[in-house]
């Protein structure tokens, strides 16, 4: 309890945390206000017909952009708070005193992690204000998808805390820790970029980056393999921080233990990649085919192989991946998708024979199509497998259009929140 009290006090004394709190209001506010305006404009155009429902889902129209502010803060602000809390003890010399307590290093770092996560949740309060405002405008909220987005951002924050804790503990100086943390977090963007250009293994790697994970959560999709990877990496970061906190242990031993822990974590992640379970919590079933299509796809016997002759950056391949393959993988995790292309953009391959072809193979029965829409792909598959889906009795998601102005939002996020934080900071400092 003493350590928990101490870590809470250290967080309250951290200027970096107060800056994070202060900035979160305007950051979330700007994202929320912009998205409410755009949503209202799109709603004003009037379509609530079947097929455009997705465009009027608050998940995509409001919560994904609003929560993006949290992603930005988790990458660029949270590391500094975490590094201050972890490295502060070493800098001040307090660690030399505290290490003389018999408490295990893991318990120490877990306490810090817990307090930092609580600090992050407090910093996310502006998002709750956004939800309340949205409801007050008459906006619709669907709790499972909203909870999924929130959980995704908490996991992302935990991952950032893990990385920052590890670098703060391993390096001698907080500035070095900050550089390394940003290298790790921003570095994953590069993986995403290379994946978009190169495809293949990079694409698989990119599916585990924080950006992709957050993007999935923001679309109401919970992927078990990504969650296992994120939680394992968080535990690895905290574990490394605990190992390197023990100043009295020889460096050689710490290095050996770090390697062992890292190998173990990679093993868990590798095994975790076999977990194909995922949950689509979006109200609009954004990440799924209709239930009757899913049933029909599951009933197709044999192995399904798809050979796509499209370059990684070809917009048709991007469409196919996002709108068809991703959904198909959820229903048929055994689907084998092979990509064939000589270049990354495909611009100079257009005239090559076979470019643009998509070959479907079910236990040796083959057919080819060039269409990339979900409807045509499903039709091709059904025809090849000689399967007919049942008539869809499922109610079609028609969206929740809302023509509302973001009233009072500017006052809440740009005036009240900063005033509240500044007052709280002054009150806390004064009390201490």
């Amino acid at each position: 309890m003493w350590l928990l009290d101490k870590e809470c006090r250290e967080l309250l004394a951290s200027r970096a945390w107060w800056v994070l709190l202060l900035v979160m209001g305007p950051l979330v506010g700007f994202a929320f206000i912009s998205s409410v305006r755009s949503y209202a404009e799109a709603s004003g155009l009037g379509g609530t017909a079947i097929g455009v429902g997705e465009a009027f889902s608050p998940l995509v129209g409001i919560w994904a952009p609003t929560f993006s502010a949290c992603e930005l803060a988790a990458v660029f602000l949270l590391p500094f708070v975490a590094i201050r809390v972890v490295a502060g003890d070493r800098q001040s010399g307090a660690l030399k005193l505290e290490l003389q307590h018999s408490m295990p290093a893991v318990a120490r770092i877990a306490t810090k992690g817990l307090v930092l996560l609580a600090g992050w949740v407090i910093a996310s309060v502006p998002v709750i204000a956004a939800i309340i405002l949205w409801r007050s405008y008459g906006g619709s909220t669907y709790v499972p998808e909203l909870a999924t987005v929130a959980i995704g951002h908490v996991i992302n924050a935990a991952l950032t805390i893990g990385i920052a804790a590890a670098t703060a503990s391993i390096t001698e100086h907080p500035a070095t820790a900050a550089i390394l943390t940003l290298t790790a977090t921003v570095g994953t963007w590069i993986v995403n970029f290379i994946a978009a250009v190169q495809g293949g293994l990079w694409e698989r790697l990119a599916s585990f980056t924080p950006t992709t994970m957050v993007s999935d959560f923001q679309h109401g999709l919970i992927r078990l393999d990504a969650v296992i990877a994120a939680l394992t990496l968080t535990a690895l970061g905290l574990g490394l921080a605990a190992l390197w906190m023990r100043l009295g242990v020889p460096v050689r031993r710490r290095v050996a233990e770090s390697i062992a822990v890292t190998v173990l974590a990679l093993l868990v992640i590798t095994v975790g990649t076999a977990a194909t379970k995922s949950w689509d919590t979006s109200e609009s079933r954004l990440n799924s085919f209709s239930k009757s299509d899913e049933k029909a796809l599951r009933s197709i016997p044999g192995f399904l192989t798809i050979e796509v002759h499209l370059a990684p950056e070809d917009p048709r391949r991007v469409d196919l991946d996002r709108r068809v393959i991703a959904k198909l993988r959820r229903v048929r995790p055994d689907v084998n998708v092979r990509y064939q292309s000589a270049t990354s953009i495909g611009l100079f391959e257009q005239t090559s024979a076979g470019y643009g072809e998509i070959w479907y193979d079910i236990d040796g029965k083959k057919t080819m199509s060039r269409a990339v829409t979900a409807e045509s792909v499903l039709e091709t598959l059904y025809s090849l497998a000689d399967v007919s889906p049942e008539t869809d009795s499922e109610e079609v998601f028609r969206g929740h259009p809302l023509m509302a102005r973001p009233a009072k939002a500017a006052t809440v996020f740009y005036v009240l929140w900063p005033a509240l934080i500044v007052s709280a900071a002054i009150a806390v400092q004064g009390k201490r």
């Binding site: 003493w2 350590l3 101490k6 006090r9 250290e10 004394a13 003890d89 001040s92 010399g93 307090a94 030399k96 005193l97 505290e98 290490l99 003389q100 307590h101 018999s102 100043l247 009295g248 242990v249 020889p250 460096v251 201490r432």
Partner: protein, 232 residues
């Protein structure tokens, strides 16, 4: 301890250091700057891994558990928990380290901490911070206290007052191992001495014993300073 050695690459900070500490005594670690005093303390306290050597407590090799139970190390030149108040730091010491609540008032009085109890540690002067650190050390319950430069930053009057407090704790049964570079301060306070120079022990014993050794080498040894110069 036996054969305690600490190397940084090719540089040897401590070489084959060996000496013993008796319960209830004030042992002074004397040496010039760079002699290896802090390194020795940190190896003893377990915050720096020694390259080799064994430390015994009551004839048994020191383990992490027995170290935590037996000794507490007070580093020099630190400002722990800079944004927390002095009162909180003392409370934390008693609570977290299971220190001695019964000494709380005496320690605050002895080190004249009352006026600064509500001040954050980071805002204190060097001397004030040293007094707070010593208070933290004396509030811990381990039978042995290792203090690195306990008089650094204190003026003459404060040094004498602090020395008196340390002596009273030693009389009450606490073993004190103090690293002191001001030889006159050490001579006034300590029962025995370990002379350290260049990472090596140059002599151990009482002032009389060390003087005899120095005289046997043909040196004038009327006080600790002369003894130190003769033996190091």
């Amino acid at each position: 301890m036996e054969g305690l050695t600490k190397r940084y690459g090719a540089v040897s900070a401590l070489s084959d250091v060996a000496f013993s500490i008796q319960p209830g005594e004030i042992l002074g670690l004397i040496g010039p700057n760079g002699a290896g005093k802090t390194t020795l303390f940190e190896c003893l306290a377990g915050v720096l891994p020694p390259t080799s050597g064994v430390i015994f407590i009551d004839g048994q090799p020191l383990t992490a558990r027995s170290r935590t139970r037996t000794l507490f190390y007070l580093p020099d030149a630190i400002a722990p928990w800079p944004s927390q108040t002095v009162r909180w730091a003392l409370d934390f010491t008693v609570g977290f380290f299971e220190g001695r609540r019964d000494l709380f008032a005496d320690v605050i009085d002895g080190f004249q901490l009352a006026p600064m109890l509500t001040s954050p540690i980071g805002t204190l002067s060097k001397g004030q911070r040293k007094r707070v650190l010593l208070a933290i050390g004396l509030l811990t319950s381990q039978p042995m206290l290792l203090a690195d430069e306990p008089f650094d930053g204190l003026d003459l009057r404060q040094t004498r007052e602090v020395a008196a407090i340390l002596q009273s704790h030693a009389r009450a049964g606490r073993t004190l191992f103090l690293s002191i570079h001001q030889i006159s301060d050490a001579a006034r306070l300590c029962d025995r001495f370990v002379l350290l120079s260049g990472g090596e022990v140059c002599g151990t014993g009482t002032l009389d014993g060390l003087s005899a050794v120095a005289r046997s080498k043909g040196a004038a040894a009327s006080n600790l300073e002369e003894v130190f110069l003769a033996l190091t």
